[in-house]
């Protein structure tokens, strides 16, 4: 198939209306991080922080938040483009990903077969106990799995090649959350499918119809709290930190900004999303220091072409092939040594 034919195929096969809806939904659905309400609240939190904690006047605070240098940088423009390209590519990829219901159904039937019976536990318990249990378990499992997958993305060389896309951002805006290589997007989608599928099957199997999630505006309670309390500021230049003791329990926006820092001391730190306890358990927590100046990206020096979209999407595959070749030849030489 020629290049022209491939392009033509995608133009014909793309459901443009759905793409448009997906883009709109990203900003209008309270289940999404960049829902307009959360963005507005984040602006408010940022303003309060700059005005009362950083003693800036209102005008300065406004111009800091909406700085053109941040929002219209080469890096931010790449974020916007990646957001759209990924939305487009996921129209094709998403239907191929197994659903959490399929995982749940499989596991439910497997449990039935394995145990040979199904007795509902806690039939007499009030519903709120089971809902609280589900909501809390989901929160902990979801947050931990995000932490752990994130850690793997940094520490497994092949995965890091793809996660670098996210870290190549020089400026951070809430849209940077979408600056993700599609391969990483698939990995994260599978994480979510597995966590949700397993939890749904276990709870419905053992607790029956009482298994449910506390929601606000149709969103899980903890996700809602996280988003209203300024989750969008994690990817921003507003360095909101918490007192040290609190940063040992909850990841503050600036702690995530530290995670994006070019300072080698900050590499592979603060993988957590909401809870800091996982980083503490795995010795990767760094708390913030007052007045700390951070630069974001993969290296101190900006490299030519690092925000080029073709580079961002295809370089990981090229690097992966070199990595595999290097590994192969290393194994070979190891084998030769062994022969000697």
């Amino acid at each position: 198939m020629s290049y022209e034919n491939i392009v033509r195929y995608f133009i014909i096969e793309t459901n443009w209306l759905e793409l448009y809806q997906q883009v709109i939904v990203a900003f209008t659905d309270p289940k999404k991080r960049v829902f307009w309400g959360y963005l507005l609240l984040s602006v408010f939190v940022a303003f309060v922080w700059l005005r009362w904690f950083k003693r800036k006047d209102s005008k300065q605070a406004f111009f800091t938040i909406f700085s053109r240098k941040v929002w219209w940088s080469q890096s931010a423009k790449a974020d916007y483009a990646i957001f759209l390209i990924n939305k487009l590519s996921f129209l094709f990829i998403a239907p191929l990903i197994i659903t959490q219901l399929a995982v749940a159904t499989w596991l439910f039937e497997y449990l039935h077969e394995l145990l040979g019976y199904r007795i509902i536990i806690g039939d007499e318990w009030p519903k709120w106990i089971i809902v609280t249990l589900f909501t809390l378990t989901y929160f902990l499992l979801d947050d931990f799995s995000r932490f752990y997958v994130h850690k793997l993305l940094h520490e497994v060389p092949a995965l890091w090649l793809f996660h670098k896309t996210h870290h190549s951002a020089r400026t951070l805006t809430p849209i940077t959350v979408f600056r993700t290589h599609p391969v990483e997007g698939i990995i994260f989608a599978l994480r979510s499918v597995l966590v949700q599928g397993i939890l749904i099957a276990l709870f419905v199997f053992f607790f029956g119809p009482k298994a449910d999630l506390y929601t606000v505006l149709g969103v899980g309670l903890f996700a809602f709290l996280f988003n209203t309390l300024g989750a969008n500021l994690r990817h921003s230049h507003i360095g909101i930190g918490y007192p040290d003791w609190l940063e040992r329990f909850l990841i503050s926006p600036v702690q995530h900004q530290i995670h994006h820092s070019t300072d080698p001391r900050h590499f592979d730190k603060n993988y957590g999303v909401i809870l800091a306890i996982w980083d503490r358990l795995f010795n990767s927590l760094v708390v913030s220091t007052r007045g700390q100046l951070l630069a974001f990206g993969l290296s101190r020096e900006e490299k030519k072409g690092e925000q080029n979209l073709l580079f961002i999407y295809f370089a990981p595959f090229k690097e992966l092939s070199s990595l595999l070749k290097a590994k192969k030849s290393a194994n070979k030489s190891k084998g030769e040594k062994l022969k000697i």
């Binding site: 997906q22 939904v25 990203a26 659905d29 289940k31 999404k32 991080r33 990924n86 939305k87 590519s89 996921f90 990829i93 998403a94 990903i97 659903t99 959490q100 219901l101 749940a104 159904t105 439910f108 039937e109 039935h112 077969e113 040979g116 019976y117 199904r118 007795i119 509902i120 989901y138 995000r146 994130h150 996210h166 940077t176 959350v177 979408f178 600056r179 993700t180 290589h181 599609p182 990483e184 997007g185 698939i186 994260f188 989608a189 949700q196 599928g197 749904i200 099957a201 709870f203 419905v204 029956g208 119809p209 298994a211 449910d212 999630l213 929601t215 149709g218 899980g220 994690r234 999303v273």
Partner: protein, 465 residues
Amino acid sequence: MKLNLLVASIAIAGAANVSAAPNYVDFPVTVKGYEGDAKHSVSYSGQAARQVLHTSLKKLSGQGNGQPNAELKAKMLSYFAAKDAGRSILSPVTKGAFIVDQSGVDQLSKKKNLVGKVYKGSVPGWPGGMTGPEVLESMIDKASSSNKGYDPLTGYDYQQLISKFVMGAVFYNQAVDNYLDEKLAADIKPNSQPYKAGKQYTGKEHVWDEAFGYFGAPANTLNLNAEAVYKIAKQKSDALALADFNGDGKVSLYNEMAYAHAYYAAGFDKGGKTTYLHNIVQAFVDGRQLLTDAKGENLTDAQRTELKTHASTIADNWQLVIAEAVFKYAGSTYKDLQKLNKLIETNGDIAKEFRGYAKHWAELKGFALALQVGNKNLGETAVKLNRLIGFSPVLLGNTQVMGLDAKGNYLQASSIDMKQYMLHMLKVQQLMVDQFGVKARNKDVLADMGELADKLSSGVSAEND
């Protein structure tokens, strides 16, 4: 107030949409050279008679006193196998404001029975390797000596078994495997001839009408929503106005009543996920219009192809209605087993729960048997279905009916336990989803999971943290 009025009128318009869609009534006479007085050619009174023979037989099936009862058996057989004059309609009868027009079977059609139209093939899902009529005769025999249709030793609820299997082996089988199948061929009951000499309908018109009569939908279905048809079948006090489209203040059991499969289709459709009832009736109306448009001539190949397309729509949707019923009652049985297992563990009183379990199981079994007497051989699916359900519900001592002895007594032997049987019910539901793609999915054992999945899901997209 005005708003209330508006909402109320929209609700009424929704329930009984007065902007007239065609009723299955007014199709003109197209027979060439017809000399009689009839203005219209629609006729399915024989099928309406069989509908009330079925509902009456169902009623009788629940009247046993636990002792051998020759009188009851004879009465049941008179509705099933005889063609006696003077049989009264035992059900449906007038109920409060829901006034029924006819009280005798003969007022609909004379000399009709059910047995002559029962599927004649073997019924592998029932013990004894019997043919369709033999299965029903055996069930009638046992039902007549049971206690209100129920046999606690086998867990059989004959009232449900007989009713659901008659619906399959007579109505469904006759419609989809006879009238809408071989009788659509060019050389059988041609459209250029009256069905019988002197009749006001052509061969093909009557064939089509008979299939419609077996479905059991009111003739004005396209002007009603599923909820309304459901209410008519249930004879709700406000349903008379919905059913009585000729405005004589009574519900005609010929073409204003909802029966059998149409009732089940309406039951599923009122959940809002499916439109089986209207898909089927629309196809019947469209097919009938095509025959009217043929003006008493033989059908061209193109017309026959189109008619067969309508027939396929009917057969496919009808099969889905039965598959949905299998799905639903597998779910009910699963939930009954869940309760029973709990009661057994806590030494609770199980008698009432067990009766409910037997009823749901019989509905499941009856529909599972019905599913197998359509126009297609279900092959492996039928084998799986029969194996999963077994010949009887799993009983308290972990036994199931395994067959019949030479005297026609049921043989029981040890089987899986009631806990494991729950998994079979779950698998029956899965089978209906995989093989038929059921959508309404009432009593879905996995429904709680679907709802939770919807709550948790925020859609797949490439995001970071």
